[in-house]
């Protein structure tokens, strides 16, 4: 693709690294914003992922300077994912019917996940001693014996 004036690769790379740092820092600083914490994390995580993907596609993959066929091929494939996602979501996201009981209730799943969580218990080695230093319902651990999975 000689002859095209694309910006220097290094500049694009530096932009990518800055974006990457912002996306990692997002969840760390977000709690300071109170109710906006969640939208901010989503934005720094996925908004920046899309931005980064655009930069890589446009400049590293030269899609900006490629014949028009190539971006169309990729966009067509990408948009089909949305067709699949939204078509399937009509079924997967509306699973709560009158005669439908989920075999595994979300509450039970949450308890199980908490019981085996490594983060909630500090480190693995002292699991079992410091269950109560985390307020998020770690006291339910007694009901769910996760020990068999870990040992």
């Amino acid at each position: 693709m000689a002859g095209h004036n694309h910006p220097s690769y290094l500049k694009i790379y530096i932009t990518l690294v800055i974006l990457f740092i912002v996306s990692v820092a997002g969840p760390e600083v977000a709690p300071a914003f109170g109710v906006f914490a969640k939208p901010i994390v989503l934005l720094t995580a996925f908004g920046i992922a899309i931005w980064k993907a655009y930069l890589v596609c446009a400049y590293f993959m030269h899609l900006k300077f490629e014949k028009i066929y190539a971006p169309y091929i990729l966009l067509a494939c990408f948009s089909l994912l949305f067709v699949f996602f939204f078509g399937t979501a009509t079924d997967a996201m509306f699973a709560n019917g009158h005669n439908w009981v989920k075999p595994v209730s979300e509450e039970a799943a949450v308890e199980e996940a908490k019981a085996r969580s490594y983060v909630l218990h500090g480190s693995h080695d002292d699991h079992g001693e410091d269950q109560h230093d985390d307020s998020d319902g770690a006291d339910h651990d007694d009901d769910h014996d996760s020990g068999d999975k870990e040992h």
Binding site: Y69, A76, C77, L80, V83, F84, G87, T88, T90, D91, A92, F94, P103, V104, A109
Partner: protein, 575 residues
């Protein structure tokens, strides 16, 4: 692009090294697109024999339950399930796909667009080898302990996911691996077809000069490539469920079994059009050639095909109306399903309009082509009932559905394939097939075909469920009148299978003793008819053809001949 600019006559040196090649390098490890096309065709036909044999065995069981079946013995329920499953899988993945897309695409695309081979000949060979491996894996799966997979070709979990349910601990994973390998083979082949047609067309061949069958095969390849991705992801997940014990599709552990149905049918419905489009293309070519008329509204057919392709991604949930899809969503999928009949109808009407006022020649190929149009119409029309979510609640999973899709798939995979073989046999092997035997074979195929499936429509509307081993266990379905229809269908099947011996005999006799065909036996326009029959290695000899006009210039006024080959120079141009 510097690499394009060089002159395309550098072929001379190719003819210097026509040294004697061994059998292996010429027919087994060849990278020539024609040989690979034949490999696909003969493998597909061999698999068709296996699939047909399976159909014979389980139809015999349904007609004469419990009796010993000639050439098989007594059929157990587990073996029945396995036969039904593998009949479906083989006929779609190992017969329709390789013969219609891979064999026809490999043989025809380079010839019709005027180049010497596929753009990636070695990828092409790899594609066939993976395909052959997949067929071997599938055949091995019949002989492992527990037998071949018996969870229906759609492989719905949890039946397919756990060996304790399907009781085929080895058959199920092998089946899944075979299907995945087959998909990989066709991804490689499909990308080859698409790039070849996009990049390697002959000089002067513009978008609207491409023969319709090439368009159709390319669009089918694109559909296949775009729809199969989620199924590959799903196949990996299902394989993990089967072999490692994950719970992607296990509701008891928080998984979602209906998700597999979505992943499967997101591929499965476009797949119908993947095999339909090449059949449409074949029939289009044949109709034009033997009606000696220009294809009616080339552009409209092309745009309808593209619209059909796009719409086919929006209809998949009509297979799942009673699987728990939200009833509001079924409105959407019913609407798109009914909409998709419009482009199909446009193509059918365009073919019928092509016939109007033509001087029709009833060769065997033309008869098969016309039969395709008629029989597929029946299959398509019955699909409209099934696409309506209300009617589908009653008809779902009955023999009505079965008869419906056999009325689409048999015209696609059997009738259109025969049309193609009768039409291109002279180009493939240099000799014509015997017309008398051909017509005998034609009537012997079409009449029993209707004899099989019309009774099944009636049985299905009467409430006969699919995938049942023995209907005598159901008082409502065990009546003598229903049993008579089952026997009639089975006898029709045996007659139809027997008439295929005529085809095989005709094929072998014509291969040796058929009438020499010459370059252009049917007086057709497209580029494959300007070269020798069979085409030499490199297809067009010293110079590659140049294209001056569209592929369907038949019976042009003011010309001596009623055909006008694409590569013939116009008189206005100095030679």
């Amino acid at each position: 692009m510097a690499e394009v600019a060089h002159a395309e006559v550098g072929h001379g040196d190719a003819h210097d090294d026509h040294h004697e090649q061994s059998f292996w390098s010429k027919y087994v490890f060849s990278t020539d697109h024609k040989i690979i096309g034949f490999q696909y065709m003969f493998t597909g036909m061999a698999m068709a024999l296996i699939g047909g044999y399976f159909a014979y065995v389980f139809r015999m069981q349904l007609a004469f339950p419990g009796n010993s079946i000639p050439f098989w013995g007594t059929l157990s329920p587990a073996a029945y399930n396995s036969l039904v499953t593998n009949h479906g899988t083989i006929m779609i993945f190992w017969v329709a796909m390789p013969v219609l897309i891979a064999a026809m695409g490999n043989f025809l695309i380079p010839l019709m667009i005027g180049c010497d081979d596929m753009v990636f000949p070695r990828v092409n060979r790899l594609s066939y080898q993976i395909f052959l491996l997949s067929a071997i894996v599938l055949i091995i799966s019949f002989f492992v302990p527990g037998g071949g997979f018996g969870g229906a070709w759609t492989a719905y979990p949890p039946l397919s996911a756990k060996a304790e349910y399907n009781s085929t601990p080895f058959g199920a994973p092998l089946w899944l691996i075979a299907v995945t390998l087959e998909i990989v083979a066709f991804l490689l082949g499909g990308i080859n077809f698409i790039t070849t047609t996009m990049n390697a067309r002959a000089k002067g061949m513009k978008m609207y000069d491409i023969p319709m069958i090439v368009w159709m095969i390319v669009i089918a390849s694109i559909l296949f490539m775009c729809s199969v991705g989620p199924l590959i992801a799903g196949a990996v997940m299902l394989l993990f469920d089967q072999t490692l014990g994950t719970a992607f599709f296990d509701a008891a552990a928080g998984g979602d079994p209906v998700l597999w149905q979505h992943l499967f049918w997101f591929f499965g419905h476009p797949e119908v059009y993947v095999v339909l489009l090449p059949a449409f293309g074949i029939v289009g070519e044949i109709t034009c050639t033997f009606a000696r008329k220009k294809l009616f509204s080339y552009k409209l057919i092309l745009y309808s095909t593209i619209g059909l392709g796009i719409l086919s991604f929006f209809v998949w949930a009509h297979h799942q109306f009673i699987s728990g899809v939200d009833p509001r969503a079924t409105y959407l999928f019913t609407t798109t399903t009914l909409l998709i009949s419009i482009p199909v109808a446009i193509i059918m009407f365009a073919y019928i309009a092509t016939l109007y006022g033509g001087s029709i020649r009833f060769t065997t190929a033309m008869l098969f082509g016309l039969a395709f149009t008629g029989e597929f119409l029946l299959g398509g029309v019955t699909g409209i009932w099934l696409g309506s979510s209300g009617v589908d609640i009653y008809l779902h999973d009955t023999y009505f559905v079965l008869a419906h899709f056999h009325y689409t798939f048999v015209p696609i995979a059997i009738i259109a394939t025969f049309a193609a073989v009768y039409y291109w046999f002279p180009k493939m092997f240099g000799r014509k097939m015997n017309e008398t035997l051909g017509k005998f074979h034609f009537w012997g195929t079409i009449i029993p075909f209707n004899g099989i499936f019309i009774p099944l429509f009636i049985l299905g509307a009467g409430g006969q469920h699919r995938r049942i081993y023995n209907y005598q266990h159901f008082p409502d379905l065990a009546g003598a009148d229903m049993q008579d229809m089952r026997v009639f269908a089975t006898i029709s099947l045996i007659v139809m299978l027997a008439f295929q011996l005529v085809f095989i005999a005709n094929f072998i006799i014509s291969l040796k003793k058929g009438e020499k065909a010459g370059k252009n036996p049917w007086k057709a326009n497209t580029l494959e008819w300007i070269t020798e029959s069979p085409p030499p290695h490199g297809n067009f000899g010293e110079t590659m053809p140049t294209v001056y006009r569209g592929p369907y210039e038949y019976s042009v006024e003011g010309r001596e001949q009623d055909y006008w080959p694409q590569n013939e120079k116009p008189e206005s141009e100095p030679s």
